[in-house]
Each structure stands twice: as C-alpha cells, then as structure tokens.
Symmetry: C2
C-alpha cells in the first residue's frame, strides 16, 4: 500500500504527496519507510529559507517569489513550507492575506504546506528537512521555507536551506535590532521589504555596515569589497566567495521580485560551482546519521540499564551526594559490565 | 591550585569567582573539575529568567530588580547573567545605559557577568546552567538571567530558570506579535514595561487574552478564573496552580518594581510548596546526565568505528546509493561485531 502511494507521488498525484507529507510529519512507521525510500530520489531541489521578524512581509514575498519562479521556468515546480503559526499560509493572519495566498493554489505546480511549530519546536529543523526531502523526491525544484524571527530553531531551519534570505523592513532605533546578529550571520541574500516606507536607506546602510563588520556568511573568506548584487562598482575579479547582496523590494506591488529571483538563481549557481552545494548535502547527511546514531545508542543503553538504577542515581545527585558526572560514570561502568556478561 | 581557587570562591573572593566562571565558560579541564566539585554545594539559588523583545527595557528592569532584592534582603547576594550581545551589561548598547548599569557594580554583593551568545548558540542553555551553578555554589541567592527575544535558544535558557519573566512594552498591531506564543507559554510573570506609554491597557488585555486562551504556564492545571497578582477579586480558595500575574512597570522610574519583586518571591514560595522546585531540579539533573551520556556513547562509538567506514557510507548516501538509515544500520552492526570481538 505504501509503495502504491509512493508510485502515485512519483506520478505527480497531489493527494498522495499530501498523505505522505502527513505520515512523515507525524513520524509514523509508514512515513519513515517512505522517507527512507524517497531519499534515494532526492538531491535536485534548491531549498530557500526566508526569515525575518513578524510584520516584515515574508509571506507576501514568498507568494511573489513562487509566482516569479513559476513564470520564469514554467517546467519547474515550487513547494512552500510555512514554518510559522502566524503565517497567512497557515491561516494565522488577517483574512485578506489568506485569500491572496490562496491564489497560488490554483497553480497545480505549486504546493503549499504549513507546519505547526508549536509542540515540536525542538525537532523543527529535522521535520522541515524531512518534508523537503519528500518534495524533492516528488520533483519540486524550488522549496521555499518561511520561518519567523530569530532564535536557534530559526537558525536550525534556515541552516538546512541552500539559500537563506533575511527580510527586514525600513526602520530606525529599536526596530533596527529586530534582525539579530545571529540571523544575519547566516544570510545569503538580504532584503529590505516595504521599501516605499521612510527609512529605507538607513536600513540598507545599517545592513551594509553589519555585513562589513563581518556579520554575514562567507564574508570572512572573500577579501573583497562589498558590492550590491546589481551594481558593478568594483573593478576587481569576481569574488571567490559569495557576497550577500542587499535588495529593496515592495513585495505587495511585485517590485524587486525579478532581481531577488535573479539573486536566488545566481546563488544556486555559485553553490554548485564552488562545491558548496555538495558540501551542504554532505553535512546534512552526516547530521542525519549522527541523529539516528544517538537515538539508537540511547535506546540500546536504556534497554541494558535498569530504570531504578538511573532513578536512584538522580536521587543521590538531587541530594547533592554525588555529581551528575559521577552518576554518568556509574551508568557507563554498569553498561560495560552488562555488555561483557551478555556477550559471554 | 584548583582547590585553592575554589576555597577562595567559597570565602566570597570575587576574583576567584570570576576566574572559575571563565574556566567553566571556556570548558577547560579545570573548569569542568571545579563545576563537578561545586555542584555538591548548589541547590539554594532562585534562577530568574527575564526575556522579551529588544527595546522592551529588560536591562533597566534587571537593574532595578537587583537593587530591590538587595535592599529588601541585605544579607542576600544577587548575580546577573546577561545572555545578550546587545545588552548594556555586555557593553553592547548606548553609553548612558552602560553607565547606569555600572552603578550596580559598586555593591559588592552583586556580580554581573555577560555571556557572548555568538559562536556558542547551540549550547547556550547548557553554558548558562553551568555559570548559574557556580554562582549558586558561591552563595548567590538570586540569579537574574537576561535573554533576548523569542526562539528555541531563549526558550531553552529560560526553561532552566525557576521563574520566567516575559517583558513587553505597550503597543498594537505588528508590535503585538513581538511576544510569540512560544515564549508566552513559559511565562510565570508577565510584565508590561514602559507603562507610561500609550496602549498599555491594550497590551495588558492582549496578554490577558493570551493567558485565558491557555498560552501561559500551568493555566491548564488550575481550573480557576484569571486574577491579577495583586487583585483579590476572586472569592475562591487559593489556586493549586500558579496563575501568571500581569504587572505594569516603568523600570526607569522604579515604578512597579516592588510588586514585581513580591511576585518573584511569591513564585519561589509557590514552587517550593507545590513540589515544583524539586521537580525542576530533578529534570535539570536528568537532562544533564542524558547530555553527558550522549557525549560518552558517541565518543566510545567513534573510537570503535573507523572514520573511513563512516566517510564511505556518507559518500554512498550522497550518491543516493543508500539512505542515511541504511548507513546507520551498517555502522551499528559493525559496532556490535567489534564490541563482541574486543570482549572475547
């Protein structure tokens, strides 16, 4: 039954895709089996993370990007994963936005999936990666992943993307802190959205300063001057590293979307040429293996070491009679002895 | 030498404390040994997490709280850990703030420590916990931990606190999203700071709604009406659970600080009476043991399994010849065989 479902997915059946996504998201046995099989068909899609503070217009930007990518390359498919409970894609925002997003669903080569981050915060990146793999195997060429704000889970989610777009809006003072250094560090492309608002130039020069101070990705590798993506002001050989361009958009009016799409495609080309696409893929496989190993080793350990031993050690540590380190040493010794006995 | 340093710390020597904090933060062998020894002297301090968006005045609030706690209980000591690169405690903000914060350092029973979150994002909670343990063992009764914004690392950091204070400022529309559901869920006390600004009542009623919708901690346990901390409007027996009070403050003018301090002390009493203090301590010890176990098991595994086997499996997975799951199965089988051989 699973393989019939997977076959349907391969043939482009949206219902089959939707069902497998749910099985994977819920971590069912069927879902995990499907994921393992589908993994062998992944590796093509460009994962694009879009992140920024609430109110920066990320969803409208994602919406416009999906249209532009489809218009430009009509044979390619676009998936949207909204990892944000307040995203219009998730139905969390005002009705007008929601309706606007629904327009996309008319295009059968666009698939929108929202993920509830509540309750699964810890494994959000892992879940997003799994859903991306399903889309990738299902032949989706671009996977737009929309996440909110700053913070570790955001960083984790966008770290698995090939291309990370950080969105901000014009503003000064307090607002300027809304993009934190932690998230700027992982930006491949910076966008000042709502560029018809006052303060746009300050925002651009703020971001430029941040990049010059070395906050953005790869800037430490390239010993080059800063340049805008569409400005050709620097008479030097093309940089070996990627210099994050700063782009102005008015997503609502579709302004700057073509330039942003250019930058996204250029970044993919850069990743492939520089070998970073391959390196990123390797890193994500390595992390995946590590995660599974930890799960297996811990479950093996739990089977061998009785619960009451662990509980009594925790109790001793709570009374400050032993340290957690001492408890770990006892557990490891016990495990070693048991393993020796069982292998005799 | 280490034990001499630890003895100095026990005697209240601030330089010794500072040195051990650095050793612990850098994860040196000396630091880890000190931490293990000092753990046996922990368990007294109330850890208080203060979190909220940039510009909410967290630092000024922490500053005022430290003063108030010291004035009220002159025999008790206060530590401040600023986990925020843009905090005035870290020197990241405007000079005026920084100078104001420095006032505190005149009081020798207050110790301020800032932590750079950059570069160590993943283990931020772990590091904060370790520093807290050092302060706890050094006889600090209150540990104020200031962190920025929302996100997983913030949630992790405040999760280790006994009492979590979420700070926001008056505002409507976009601003209201600045406190996200994820962080509200872990609030024990809600503070609307800068309460002299317009929109304060909307903010309070927004937060009240969020709490009524079940977004805040323990509210699901207590089947009680919502009540303000300092209002006695409900003629019912005292709730078994804790209902997060919503307090208005103007930290800069020291307004509402006494009430906030009351709430903090009341929350500590509640935690002790309800057994939650004990449960929290247990959970943190359990997590600590789990973390150390994972490190040990992985390092043991790495010693047994040759790097080139892992590398060749990753390469096969990268060519989509095998799945990461298959790679893990091969690694575990290899590990089992090697373990059997070595024990013969």
């Amino acid at each position: 039954m699973t393989s019939a479902l997977i076959d349907s997915l391969r043939k482009g059946n949206r219902l089959a895709l939707s069902r497998i996504l749910s099985q994977v998201e819920n971590g069912t046995e069927t879902g995990m089996a499907a994921l393992e099989e589908l993994f062998l068909e992944t590796g093509n899609a460009q994962k694009i993370g879009i992140t920024g503070p609430p109110g920066s217009g990320k969803s409208t930007l994602v919406n416009a990007l999906a249209r532009e990518l489809r218009q430009r390359q009509p044979d390619k498919k676009v998936a949207i994963i909204a990892v944000d409970p307040s995203s219009p894609f998730t139905g969390g925002a005002v009705l007008g936005d929601r309706v606007r997003m629904l327009d996309l669903e008319v295009d059968k080569q666009i698939f929108i999936r929202s993920m509830a981050s509540r309750g699964a915060l810890g494994g959000l990146a892992e879940q997003t990666e799994a859903l991306s793999q399903v889309f990738d195997a299902a032949g989706y060429d671009f996977i737009l992943i929309e996440t909110v704000g700053a913070g570790q889970s955001e960083v984790d989610v966008v770290n698995l993307a090939h291309t990370t777009i950080v969105v901000d809006t014009p503003g000064t003072g307090d607002d300027i802190q809304s993009i934190k250094a932690g998230i700027l560090e992982i930006a491949d492309i910076l966008v000042v959205n709502k560029a018809d608002r006052p303060g746009v130039d300050q925002s651009v020069s703020y971001l430029r300063n941040m990049i010059e101070m070395g906050y953005a990705r790869s800037i430490n590798n390239g010993k080059h001057h800063l340049q805008d993506f569409h400005e050709d002001t620097v008479n030097e050989p093309a940089p070996a590293g990627w210099i994050p361009p700063i782009l102005k958009t008015i997503a609502y009016e579709y302004q700057g979307i073509k330039e942003l799409t250019d930058a996204i495609l250029a970044h993919a080309a850069h990743l492939r040429q520089s070998g970073q696409w391959h390196a990123k893929d390797q890193a994500s496989i390595r992390a995946n293996i590590r995660r599974q190993l930890i799960t297996s080793l811990l479950s093996d350990f739990n089977q061998k070491v009785p619960t009451n031993l662990l509980d009594s050690l925790i109790e001793k540590a709570q009374k400050r009679a032993i340290s957690p380190n001492e408890a770990v040493r006892v557990l490891l010794t016990y495990n070693r002895i048991i393993s020796l006995e069982s292998s005799e």
